[in-house]
Chain length 414, copies 2
């Protein structure tokens, strides 16, 4: 089955809103063996909607549309679809009562705009939206389906997951598609490409490899499709193992693993508590580690010492070290890591101090000079980065390398 994802909204075309819905939908479809052939973002205009829809239906069996619903959008998607499918809008008591009920929770009553929202295309299949007022709308044309959902991400996800997925699953006859991802960090894509060349050259024609680099990490994605699902799986799993053998020290995980999920798993497995001490990353490492549910089982906390005073007072970095070597130095970051172990009462801590930019450079220390240390009080590891990206990318890159250093530290000492 082939699918096309369409996002409707002027706010996307002027760059004020980043479309994250399409990537989420694409991933869901890929997991269900549906091939996304195209994604389009178009304006809130009737003609654009109808043209894109009509082109889409000639190339694909399924069209997923997000956005362009709701009173402030003048419900343009609903109106365009109604016209395209040659039906009409009729007042839907059920939808109206649900709007009324939802508003009552907040002590409010439906407005005229809410009343307009309750008009639905005749013959459409309404898909329940637990989290908002606009239901999903599923149109069918011969064997093809067009699903319109609100643009609010969590409402869209709810409708797709709970109301649409069961319908789609029933329609699919499971053709064999298979993916595996190898997660690496610490080396660029062309070096990896060279080191695994013997494996990639020998891949069967139905298996493809993709290199997906991002801030110090490279994901290697093996994917393919074949009538014989078992043969496909064997080919891809064998290639995966052969690649890992070529670059064992670069591989930190597989598939949906992230640096932070692997750190969590390792710390929990070894019964270690963990903390951070952050200067230039400003809490980003801590925020990344705690974005995973369950992280409180190993992660204890952090001292974000943006000022030198806090480095001294809360982390116990000596005034002498700060004066002699500066806040951005190996010496300071080591004392920060050791101090974090003591003050936070954790087994292990990673610390970061550097110049994220664009300001703050000195003669000896240009923007992008960043020191990272990991310590357990007895042993330590240190790494110096020299980055040349923007402030926010320097922070994200440093966050990746700090977690990677923690993983290397655990590997060596535990």
């Amino acid at each position: 089955m082939k699918a096309i994802i369409i996002t409707i909204g002027d706010e996307i075309l002027i760059g004020q809103v980043l479309d994250t819905n399409s990537a989420w939908l694409a991933e869901q479809l890929q997991l269900m063996n549906v091939e996304v052939v195209r994604m389009s973002s178009i304006s809130d205009e009737h003609n654009d909607i109808v043209k894109t829809l009509s082109e889409g239906l000639s190339d694909a069996d399924l069209i997923l549309i997000t956005g362009g619903l709701g009173p402030t959008k003048d419900d343009i998607t609903k109106k365009s679809l109604t016209e395209y499918f040659e039906t009409e809008l009729v007042f839907d008591q059920e939808v109206y009562l649900r709007i009324e009920k939802l508003l009552a929770k907040f002590g409010r009553k439906p407005t005229e705009a809410h009343r307009d929202q309750a008009y639905m295309p005749l013959g459409v299949l309404k898909l329940h939206n637990e989290l908002g007022t606009a239901p999903g709308m599923l149109f069918k044309k011969e064997e093809k389906m067009v699903l319109s959902m609100p643009g609010v991400p969590y409402e869209m996800k709810y409708i797709f997951h709970n109301s649409f997925k069961p319908i789609l699953e029933e329609k699919l006859n499971h053709k064999s598609i298979y993916h595996r991802t190898i997660q690496t960090a610490g080396m660029g894509e062309s070096v990896i490409a060279e080191r695994i060349e013997m494996v990639t050259d020998a891949l069967p024609s139905y298996v493809k490899i993709a290199f997906l680099p991002s801030l110090g990490k490279v994901r290697l994605r093996l994917s393919g499709s074949h009538e014989d699902g078992k043969q496909l799986k064997t080919s891809i799993d064998n290639a995966l193992n052969a690649i890992v053998e070529k670059i064992p020290e670069l591989v930190f995980g597989f598939d949906n693993d992230s640096l932070e999920s692997v750190l969590m798993d390792k710390c929990i497995a070894k019964g270690l508590s963990f903390g951070t001490a952050e200067s230039c990353t400003g809490g980003n490492i801590s925020a990344r580690l705690t974005k995973i549910s369950g992280s409180s089982a190993y992660y204890q906390g952090s001292i974000i010492s943006y000022s030198n005073k806090i480095k001294e007072k809360q982390l116990g970095v000596s005034a002498d070290t700060l004066k002699r070597f500066g806040a951005v130095s190996k010496e300071t970051v080591l004392e920060m890591a050791k101090g974090a172990c003591v003050r936070l009462g954790v087994d292990c801590a990673v610390a970061v101090s550097g110049i994220a930019g664009p300001g703050g450079a000195t003669k000896d220390k240009p923007v992008g000079t960043i020191h990272i240390a990991c310590s357990n009080g007895k042993h330590h590891m240190h790494r110096l980065l020299s980055l040349s990206k923007t402030r926010s990318l320097n922070i994200e890159y440093t966050t990746n390398m700090a977690i990677l250093l923690a993983l290397k530290f655990l590997e060596k000492h535990y």
Copy 2:
């Protein structure tokens, strides 16, 4: 001038990579009065590239393409463009020497793949890429332009900003388009829509308003185009002022202001130092505040007390409070905020404690129960949130509301 943005890459179509390039480019183009009529993400396939390009050239004057370059992509974009523009690839000594020089920095030599990368379409205008090996390629067809850039965001941004923008600026005859944005927080879009209805109903036909809601914030964007630039500006500025008069307490800024940039500006203007104490947000507030360059002028640091032990030891929350009211309570979060003022030595601090989910709920405190407090040691403000989103959205929403509470606190007490 009309433009189309095309992103090439299978990794986007399977949802493994989120396309942020298109939104960035769209914003840049919008600022230059170029209208983006469509964005498309397509696969690494020659036929798709040629078809999308050819359709694009019939609807727009400018096509911006990102991705599909580099050795691991088999330089598919370059090959497809070369064929489409009926030219040929020739070895480019200048490009090759640059690759050689860049690699030499890391003590490496060009591979065969790098040599292939140095073949360029005959007659193309190469646009300098300071940050990578692949230059931008600008093709011209009659009055239309097609620009191909690498998919790596910072390389793409460099080429666009430094090498392409001057060319584009020369080509544009500045037609009048004008945008203003009102930043609001604390109320939903339909309530705002009702409160400003009298203003929006009276807008001239050439001025549009868009409501852009996101996690407790709603941006109101006024935009329009008109031959008379002065009249356009007056109409939009007047509408903006009239809207602000209707909802003064909800407006926290304009245009590119963010909650964190406004907090920074206010603290610096009043000479206040600031810190945070975070439990369930895990450092996200601190990370957001420090993502702005210059934040060290007011922001001092944070204590991330994920564990109760750190709440006690580092923030001075009393064991009795934790026992009687629990970590997720008004009492605890107030002591956290006061403790942060003392321990971090700051004038003002915001503190957060709650259950971000999906685990951690108790009978009295469901997932999404989150307490926020702001204190300067003498005065305080408190707010209780009851959220029902996913973990990461709960964290982002809470971060917005914590910064908003800090702004309200500053307004009241300074």
